[in-house]
Amino acid sequence: MLSVKNLQRPGLAPCSFTVPTGTCTALTGPSGSGKTLLLRALIDLDENTGCVAVDDQERATYAAPDWRRCVGYLPAEPGWWADKISDHFVDVKAAEPILNSIGLKPDILDQYVETASTGERQRLALVRLLAMEPRVLLLDEPTAALDDATVETVERLLTDQLSKGTSILLVSHDQDQANRLCRQWLTIKNGQVREKKIP
């Protein structure tokens, strides 16, 4: 479970919400409304104040690198720092089964980042994140660059994660996707987070 109390930063009014264990919460809002600001504050990449906890363990008790292993954040445009794809994986063995389940062949790891397509890179970024086995996932448009069939495999993977007890906060512009995966909705507008009643 991810619980957030009075989280605050420039561009984001104090907000409180929880994402229960094994469920997915959708976060929607127009661009520039503060979705990324919220996610970056949760993962502690920007200065912020407030209480964030995973399963009642406070963020402040974690060293920052450990916190980011416990709460995985997939940005809309994931970064790559090495030439070879495999160099972005801490544990290649742990990544292989996930690669298979998401429709990627393990030998893609031997390729170079610039030869992978946008959609492949997006999935690879998700795989390297899941290989750390985080308990909470913050996903910023994880299927934006994918075709319908691949979206389905990614959604199946996310459903698997949910059944393992992972909590997911999902930014998605796809209303149908949110309906398929999420039980709870948050909207954000001008930095104000509100809970939305299920339609």
Binding site: I43, L45, A64, P65, Y73, P78, W80, W81, H88, M132
Partner: protein, 267 residues
């Protein structure tokens, strides 16, 4: 040995007339450089004449306090020069302090070492040895530090997604910065490595040439030049490392966040 030929001011005027030819060429070819030429030459004359007078005074007095004051002033100018060459400076006193601080630490450490152990001047702070050495060390370390810092801040700003991607996978700030730290160190140290490699083959160092012109035996002049090059090499390495490691620390905070907000945007 004592074949030193004193120059008269008339000799210098003849040499200075070369600049007049350059100026005339610039006007004739409409290069528009004559103003800059004139100003730079005038600055050089005024600065060097003043420095000559200051050094004469300092050598005559040989007090530690005046020598220290002169050294700190030199360090201040070097620090300002480093700052002026930065595209993205640190905000607050770090912007001013980083260049000056690292220059003073690296420069004085190496100079004091040379004065007390190698040259064994007496007293060790004798400005006749201390200030020229310190000046040469500063001048070269300055270039390396400025280059290294510029590389670091430019790369880190550009590579922010790559650095943050590593942080997001549980890397520490230090690990995430390592490839870019390395690049900055290499760039900062490259000039001194190049200049050590080229010395004597491509270039005859100014100090050695000066000594030879002043009548010193060439092999003796070479020994002094080697000493100076070692000092410069040591001080540059030390200064560049201090400056880069200090900056990396400043660019990361205790929660391992990349703090680009601690850099100013280029004007």
């Amino acid at each position: 040995m004592n074949s030193y030929i004193a120059l008269s001011y008339f000799d210098l005027m003849i040499a200075a007339s070369l600049l007049l030819i350059n100026g005339a060429l610039s006007i004739w070819l409409k290069l528009g450089l004559e103003r800059q030429y004139l100003i730079a030459a005038a600055r050089m004359v005024v600065q060097l004449v003043l420095v000559g007078l200051v050094l004469k005074f300092l050598f005559a007095t040989t007090t530690p306090w005046w020598t220290l004051l002169a050294a700190v002033t030199m360090g201040g100018f070097a620090g300002r020069e480093i700052m002026a060459r930065q595209e993205r400076r640190f905000t607050g006193w770090w912007g001013h302090g980083l260049g000056f601080g690292t220059m003073m630490i690296a420069g004085s450490l190496v100079t004091v070492l040379a004065l007390t152990i190698t040259i064994q001047a007496s007293p060790w702070y004798d400005p006749r040895f201390a200030l020229p050495l310190f000046g040469m060390v500063l001048g070269n370390a300055m270039t390396g530090i400025a280059l290294g810092l510029n590389t670091l801040t430019a790369t880190v700003t550009r590579e922010r997604p790559a650095i943050e991607a590593q942080l997001l996978l549980g890397a520490t700030g230090w690990q995430a910065m390592l490839p870019f730290t390395r690049r900055a160190l290499t760039n900062g140290l490259m000039p001194i490595i190049n200049s050590m490699a080229a010395t004597g083959v491509v270039s005859l160092p100014g100090m050695m040439t000066g000594q030879i012109l002043a009548g010193v035996d060439p092999t003796e002049a070479v020994k002094y030049q080697l000493l100076v090059m070692f000092l410069i090499g040591g001080a540059t390495g030390l200064g560049v490392m201090l400056a880069i490691f200090g900056s990396v620390r400043r660019l990361m905070d205790h929660r391992h966040r990349l703090r680009l907000d601690r850099l100013q945007r280029p004007a």
